[in-house]
Structures are given as structure tokens and as C-alpha cells.
């Protein structure tokens, strides 16, 4: 299952290939010699304490932070050497969902979702989409994406007027319209209640169903255990890479030791409050593969 030990040469069969990547923000080292490979269509959960480098890893994959060292290939393409045009093309194949949703609150739900497609257009075509709407074909895709996340009736509402969980589903709908090959979700459910979190995770898994790779940063270890592969980061490096069965208390202690957490940081609400199906590891189709 795990492909963490595959060959170092770039291969198009790999969605992501990170080799000795280093990133610093001033004196703070965010990623220290991090290496990781993810095969296409794999589902990976990334865990780690705050500041372990989870979000920085995602920023590095979309090249929104400069690398201090190492090599990073996405779909077999070394993104550190790409020109602006090629970077844009590479980003078009990566869909991202954030903890804070990051929709444009003043725009309608429909236009926010349509941006998944509009962001790939020429400037002129994008301007016309802003003024006259994105066109019939995109509108149809927007409607079907919103239908899939259960928000079809909110297409004309201001995105900022929606609840947090609804905004996150709009973000997932944007992803469905974008049709990326690699989906990165950065703490997508950290701000959501358990039931809404279930909806969002299920929607994410569905979005990845048509052959996309899914990598999710999670605070909640119990949620991470539903993924077939778990990668744990600590101080900017991989300290665990394996199946949920291998992730025992000893490993967790090591992962979270730096900020003094001794017990398994499985959140209380996930254990006590979540309806039974959420504890079923086979749900969402995450482990079906």
C-alpha cells in the first residue's frame, strides 16, 4: 500500500515526490529534510502537532513558499524549476481545501464554485465571466457540484452568509468543478461540529473518487485512523509513515511529545459525541481501495 520506499527518480505514477525538502521562515525551520512519496489515487492523512510543518508542506507543493533545499515533484514534474506559466498549469491540477474555507464572502455561492473553472481561463474570458456570468456549461457544472454537496438551493446567496460547514461544502464544490488530480485538504474539519465534519469528509472522499489523490491534514487522530495510510510529522520531518494499525500509543507519544501531550490526543468529541457510523473505518470509501 504505502509507497514511501519507492525509487527516487521522478515517475509520473507518483502524485507527489518530496525529497529532502527544507523550508525556513527566517530563523524558524518549518521543514527539515522532509522526504515523502505518495502514489496516484492514494488516500493519506497527515498528522502532527501545531507547527510540525503540515501546512507548510502543502504550501510547498503549490509553490507558494520558496524551498531552501531539496526537490519536489508533482505528477512527475519538478515544480521547483517550472516557469510562471508551468507553475500555473501545475496548480490547476491541485485542488485545496482550507480550515478557514477561504471563499470570497462578498461573491455568490455559485460564482465562488465557478472560480474552480474560471481560474484556468484567459484574463479576458475571466473578466467576461465576472460581468456576465461564467456561461452555460460551467453553470451546469456548478449546479451539479452544489447538488452533490447538498447546497443547490443556495447558488445565489452571498457566500459569507452561509454557516461554516456550508462554506466548507462550497469549497468542496469548487474542487469538484476544478476537477484536480491531487486534492490537498488542510484541516478541513477542524472548525466544524462532528456531524458537519462527517458531511465534509464524505464530500471530499467523493470528490477524489474519479481518480484523484487525496492528502488530508488532520488534528483529530481518530479521523486520521480512517485513512489507509497515515504520515506523522514532527519538527518538519516524517516520524511515522504506515497503516493506522501501526499507529500505536508509543508512536503517538513520539509525534506529540514536543508540546507535552502524553495521552493520545484523540479529541473528546470524536470519541463521545460522534454518531456511530463515523467510527466505522470503512465509511466514506476511504479504505475501500
Amino acid at each position: 500500500m504505502s509507497s514511501s520506499s519507492s525509487s527516487p527518480s521522478s515517475s509520473p505514477a507518483l502524485a507527489l515526490e518530496v525529497e529532502g525538502v527544507e523550508i525556513s521562515f527566517g530563523p524558524v525551520v518549518a521543514l527539515a529534510d522532509l522526504s515523502l512519496t505518495v502514489a496516484r489515487e492514494e488516500r493519506v492523512a497527515v498528522i502532527g502537532a501545531s507547527g510540525a510543518g503540515k501546512s507548510t508542506l502543502f504550501a510547498a507543493v503549490t509553490r507558494t513558499v520558496p524551498l531552501a533545499g531539496g526537490r519536489l515533484s508533482v505528477h512527475g514534474e519538478d515544480i521547483t524549476t517550472l516557469g510562471p506559466r508551468a507553475v500555473r498549469a501545475a496548480r490547476r491540477r491541485i485542488g485545496i481545501v482550507y480550515q478557514a474555507y477561504n471563499l470570497v464572502p462578498q461573491l455568490s455561492v455559485g460564482l465562488n464554485v465557478a472560480l474552480g473553472e474560471i481560474a484556468g481561463r484567459s484574463n479576458r474570458s475571466a473578466l467576461s465571466a465576472l460581468l456576465r456570468g461564467p456561461g452555460a456549461e460551467t453553470s451546469e457544472r456548478v449546479h451539479s457540484a452544489l447538488r452533490q454537496v447538498g447546497l443547490e438551493d443556495r447558488v445565489g446567496d452571498r457566500a459569507g452568509d452561509l454557516s461554516g460547514g456550508q462554506q466548507q461544502r462550497v469549497a468542496v464544490a469548487r474542487l469538484l468543478v476544478q476537477r484536480p488530480d491531487l486534492i490537498l485538504a488542510d484541516e478541513p474539519v477542524a472548525a466544524l461540529d462532528p456531524v458537519t465534519a462527517t458531511h465534509v469528509l464524505r464530500a471530499l472522499a467523493e470528490a477524489a473518487e474519479e481518480g484523484a489523490t487525496l492528502i488530508v491534514n488532520l488534528h483529530d487522530v481518530s479521523l486520521a485512523r480512517r485513512f489507509p495510510r497515515i504520515v506523522a510529522l514532527r519538527a518538519g520531518a516524517v516520524v511515522f509513515d504506515g497503516s493506522p494499525e501501526e499507529l500505536d500509543d508509543e508512536v503517538l507519544r513520539r509525534v506529540y511529545a514536543s508540546d507535552g501531550v502524553i495521552e493520545e490526543p484523540e479529541s473528546r468529541f470524536a470519541r463521545d459525541l460522534v454518531p456511530a457510523p463515523l467510527h466505522d473505518r470503512e465509511s466514506y470509501g476511504l479504505r475501500a481501495r
Binding site: A100, N102, L103, V104, P105, L127
Partner: protein
């Protein structure tokens, strides 16, 4: 320390204590500057008090204000012209300001870009900033003088003067508004491949639109006040009527014109405030 509690440091207020060296220095410099300025402007309280007599005479000559049909007509004409100049000045200014502000808005997209790309991005940025600075730093009355010389007397050069100055002020404020919108939605668009223009159109502009509308209304308010002055250099508006009446020593007419101006400015202030509140909502 005198009380023997060397370890416990006193909690101070927001102002620097006068006993700290920095506080003392600031106080000295401030006093020095005030004295220097008082000397420079020949500040004379006696002259001000003894001037009260002529001022009183001037004011009493204004009463009763002239409310003849001719004066009221001139007042109305002047006010309408002032209104037209200020409105067009603000609108035209905002239209010119927006593209300049967009070009003069810093964007965090230069990460990993080559030196040449970064340089190519810096040229329009600094060019736009320079144009806006020139527009803004020259007062509208000087712009009015320039346009009156070029185009002759009347409200048109006045409106142009207001437009250029408004463009400078609004351009700076717009670009600051565009730069300070919440960054996350914008970088989310960048993450999915949106170009710089697309990030501006879909990320920054929608988030800044309300504030920019409100700023334009405020600029219109300022323009109404400025437009009354521009008439003094022959650039139209009610100021021109005031200047003529002053030169003819027709103080009752001046009273009517000035009173009407005060009322108009107050009315526009209220209207603009109400509209801006709606923008903010």
C-alpha cells in the same frame, strides 16, 4: 527605587513618563517646535482682540442677507454648478483611480519568480504610485489654475481640477484598501492557478468594493467643500459668485451665498453619511 522596591516595576500609562530620558526629550522637542512656530507666524493675541471691531462691522454689514429674486437665482445657479462639479469630479476621479490603484497594489506572487519577472512587475507598480503621488500632492486649487489657464474660465476646468486631485487621493486609498483585504481568499485563488488580474477581479475587488464606494462618497463630500473655493480662481461654482459679490462690497449678497453654501455642505454631509452607512451594511 526611592521606596526601596527596586524589583517591582511600576505599571505606567500609555504616555511616556516625564522622568524617563525619552519622555523628557520628546517634551522638550515639542515645546521647542511650538515656540518656533508661534514666533514664525508672528502670533499676536492683542492684534486678534483689537481686530474684533472691524470683524464685527463686516459681519453686521452682512445683515440682513439679500434675499431678492436675483440673488436667490444666482445662489441656486452657483450651488447647482458646485454640486455638478463635485459629483463629476469624484466619479471621474474614482474611474481614473481604480486602474491606477490596481496597478499600484502590491501582490505576494513574486515567490520563486525570476529577477526579470519581479522587475517587470515592479515597473507598473512604481509608475502608478508616482502618477498618483503627483495627482495628490498638488492641491486642487493649483490644478484649477493650470486648467483655467489652459481651457479658460468656467466650471469645466474646475471639475477637471477636482477629478485629478480626487484621482490622486482615491487612488492611494483604493490601493491601500485593495492591499489590506483578507489575504486568504486571494491566496486560495492563487493556489488554484488564478492569474494576478483574476485574483484582483475575483479576490480583492469584491472584498474592497464596499469600502471603495464609501471612500468615493467621502471624496464627493470633500469636493463640495473644495468646489466653493475653486471659484476664487475663476473655475466656476458658487465661489465665483462669492468673489464677485465681495469685490463689489455687496456683503448682504455674500451672506446669502455663504449661508447657502454652509447649508448645502451640511446637507451633503448627512446624505453621504447615510449612503455610506448603507454601503457598510
Amino acid at each position: 527605587m526611592a521606596s526601596g522596591h527596586a524589583e517591582t516595576q511600576r505599571v505606567t500609562g500609555a504616555l511616556p513618563g516625564p522622568r524617563t530620558p525619552v519622555g523628557g526629550l520628546i517634551a522638550l522637542v515639542a515645546i521647542g517646535l511650538v515656540g518656533f512656530s508661534l514666533y514664525g507666524v508672528d502670533f499676536d493675541l492683542v492684534a486678534l482682540l483689537s481686530g474684533a471691531g472691524p470683524i464685527e462691522r463686516f459681519v453686521s454689514e452682512m445683515f440682513p442677507p439679500d434675499v431678492s429674486a436675483g440673488t436667490l437665482r444666482a445662489t441656486g445657479r452657483g450651488l447647482v454648478e458646485t454640486f455638478q462639479m463635485s459629483l463629476l469630479g469624484a466619479l471621474l476621479g474614482a474611474l481614473v483611480a481604480l486602474p491606477l490603484a490596481a496597478a499600484g497594489t502590491a501582490d505576494a506572487a513574486t515567490i520563486g519568480a525570476s529577477r526579470r519577472t519581479r522587475l517587470a512587475g515592479a515597473v507598473p507598480y512604481h509608475a502608478a504610485r508616482l502618477v498618483l503621488n503627483v495627482f495628490r500632492s498638488i492641491p486642487d486649487i493649483l490644478w484649477a489654475l493650470v486648467f483655467v489657464v489652459a481651457l479658460g474660465l468656467g466650471p469645466f476646468p474646475g471639475m477637471l481640477a477636482l477629478a485629478v486631485h480626487s484621482a490622486g487621493v482615491l487612488g492611494k486609498l483604493f490601493s491601500e484598501t485593495l492591499e489590506t483585504v483578507p489575504e486568504r481568499p486571494v491566496s486560495a485563488l492563487r493556489g488554484i492557478g488564478a492569474t494576478r488580474l483574476q485574483r484582483l477581479l475575483f479576490g480583492r475587488l469584491p472584498q474592497a468594493a464596499g469600502a471603495c464606494g464609501s471612500l468615493t462618497l467621502y471624496q464627493w463630500e470633500c469636493n463640495i467643500r473644495s468646489a466653493t473655493i475653486l471659484g476664487f480662481v475663476g473655475a466656476g461654482g458658487i465661489g465665483q459668485e462669492i468673489l464677485v459679490a465681495m469685490n463689489l462690497f455687496d456683503y448682504p449678497k455674500v451672506a446669502t451665498l455663504v449661508g447657502a453654501t454652509v447649508l448645502a455642505v451640511l446637507a451633503v454631509d448627512r446624505l453621504s453619511a447615510a449612503l455610506r452607512q448603507r454601503f457598510a451594511a
